[in-house]
């Protein structure tokens, strides 16, 4: 399958990228690793007239320490993120979830920011970013702005990123050692997208749960938090886990496809959330 014709320009900085996007407007797309975009081009589901390649923009690569946060460059590959020492030390949940994205070849080329900017609710990273309360730094013609993960995902494959915007970096909070985590990804074969995924981040203290954050993958047109479960778990003893996780699908309208009907997805969300919370607590 051959993509429709387009022009290609490689930029050396974020400013150049914004400028190039400004010139070409709606018809331009940002290319980083290309592992979300190139499959769409080949299937001719996307028809940009210009690709702006940010894959070699140094300021968009790597992970740096920023006090109580880590800052991950959007064009850092999955493989670089999952093996990064800062990530492993301060936010090991990221390493764990990223290690389940695609397969090794995909992780060598695909980028952390690309997996988020693509906005696919079946992808693993949107729910991760949402559960972490990550902040996205976006560069556009009006300068840079911060957008909370909870405001970023608009609809299926749609985010707040405008035609002239570039996702530059992702800020994530460092998590102390009192946080446990677990991601339950349910799929039929190793490299497939999640039919449903549930990510649990749980802060423990002496037999009870201080705080829980649950991110759901592929349970709607955007990634979701299992808010009812989070509220039921906050400050509760571990005895309530099963009841709390029974509320994991509350308020969701999951998609239907060949793999699962909506009610089956809701069932999976409840079961996977319980497993994720139990594993996150070390059970």
């Amino acid at each position: 399958m051959i993509p429709a014709a387009f022009d290609y320009t490689r930029v050396g900085s974020v400013d150049e990228a914004v400028q190039a996007l400004g010139q070409h407007g709606e018809d331009a797309k940002v290319l980083a690793g290309g592992h979300s975009l190139i499959p769409l081009l080949r299937l001719r589901l996307a028809f940009p007239s210009v690709l702006v390649d940010v894959g070699r923009v140094d300021e968009m690569r790597g992970v740096r320490d920023d006090g109580d946060h880590l800052v991950i460059g959007a064009a850092t590959t999955h493989d670089e993120v999952m093996h990064d020492d800062l990530v492993r030390q301060h936010c090991p949940v990221i390493s764990d979830v990223v290690s389940q994205v695609g397969d090794p070849q995909v992780r060598h080329r695909g980028t952390f920011g690309g997996g988020i900017a693509h906005g696919d609710p079946a992808g693993d990273l949107p729910a991760l970013a949402l559960a972490l309360d990550a902040t996205f730094v976006i560069a556009g013609s009006g300068g840079r702005r911060d957008v909370a993960a909870s405001d970023f995902f608009v609809d299926y494959l749609q985010t707040v990123l405008g035609a002239e915007d570039v996702l530059v970096e992702i800020k994530v909070p460092k998590l102390g050692s009192d946080w446990g985590h677990n991601y339950q990804k349910f799929n039929r074969v190793a490299q497939a997208w999640a039919i449903v995924g549930s990510l649990a981040l749980v802060r423990r203290s002496d037999g009870s749960i201080d705080e829980a954050r649950i991110g759901l993958t592929h349970m709607g047109s955007v990634p979701l938090r299992a808010s009812a479960t989070e509220q039921a778990l906050a400050g509760a003893s571990t005895d309530v886990i099963a009841d709390a996780c029974d509320q994991a699908a509350e308020g969701t309208s999951p998609p239907e496809d060949l793999n699962a009907r909506a009610d089956y997805r809701q069932h999976l969300a409840r079961v996977l959330t319980r497993r994720a919370v139990e594993h996150a607590l070390g059970g």
């Binding site: 399958m1 051959i2 993509p3 429709a4 014709a5 387009f6 022009d7 290609y8 490689r10 290319l31 290309g34 592992h35 190139i38 499959p39 081009l41 080949r42 299937l43 690709l51 390649d53 894959g55 493989d79 695609g102 397969d103 090794p104 070849q105 995909v106 060598h108 080329r109 190793a190 490299q191």
Partner: protein
């Protein structure tokens, strides 16, 4: 049209490429390196796997334009002085193939795997090759071949 300079199996090429040209078609049709196969063309099967700047990558999901300045190794660049790479020998000896279509990609993905883990368990091999599909389902002997090659690579490193 972007002009690229790319080193493939040790030879540097300079070419003008159409932006939409995928690396795998550049390798096969422009350079005639047909050892790298196109399987699914949907980033799933891994038949087109090459080493891209030393790491395994699916050449159907890379634009030739992105390969400017890159070093690419295909299955045809693995042998040294006419002698097969330990993985090529092991896939032969252990019968790690049936129809052989996935083999170039399996071997290139395994080169990367062994470079980062020279003594993988069966499970680590299976996990490490999850980006490569064998539709003959000949996985058992593929795993045996990779582990056999790992032994040879380790011996080669110590001798």
């Amino acid at each position: 049209m972007p002009r690229i300079s790319v080193t493939v199996d040790g030879v540097t090429y300079e070419d003008d490429v159409e932006p939409r040209l995928l690396l795998v078609y550049y390798l096969r049709e422009r350079l005639g390196l047909t050892g790298t196969n196109v399987g699914c063309d949907t980033s799933n099967c891994g038949a087109c796997t090459v080493l891209f700047n030393g790491r395994s990558a699916k050449s159907c999901t890379i634009l030739a334009a992105q390969a400017d300045g890159a070093e690419v190794t295909t299955i045809q660049g693995l042998a040294r002085n006419g002698e097969w790479h330990p993985l090529q020998k092991a896939f032969n000896a252990e019968h790690g193939l049936q129809c052989g279509y996935c083999t170039p990609g399996m071997i290139m993905a395994s080169v990367d795997l062994l470079e980062h883990n020279d003594d993988p368990t069966d499970e680590e091999v299976r996990h490490g090759l999850e980006g490569n599909l064998c539709r003959c389902t000949g996985y058992q002997n593929i795993v045996k071949a990779v582990r056999a090659a790992a032994g040879e690579v380790r011996e080669g490193a110590t001798s």
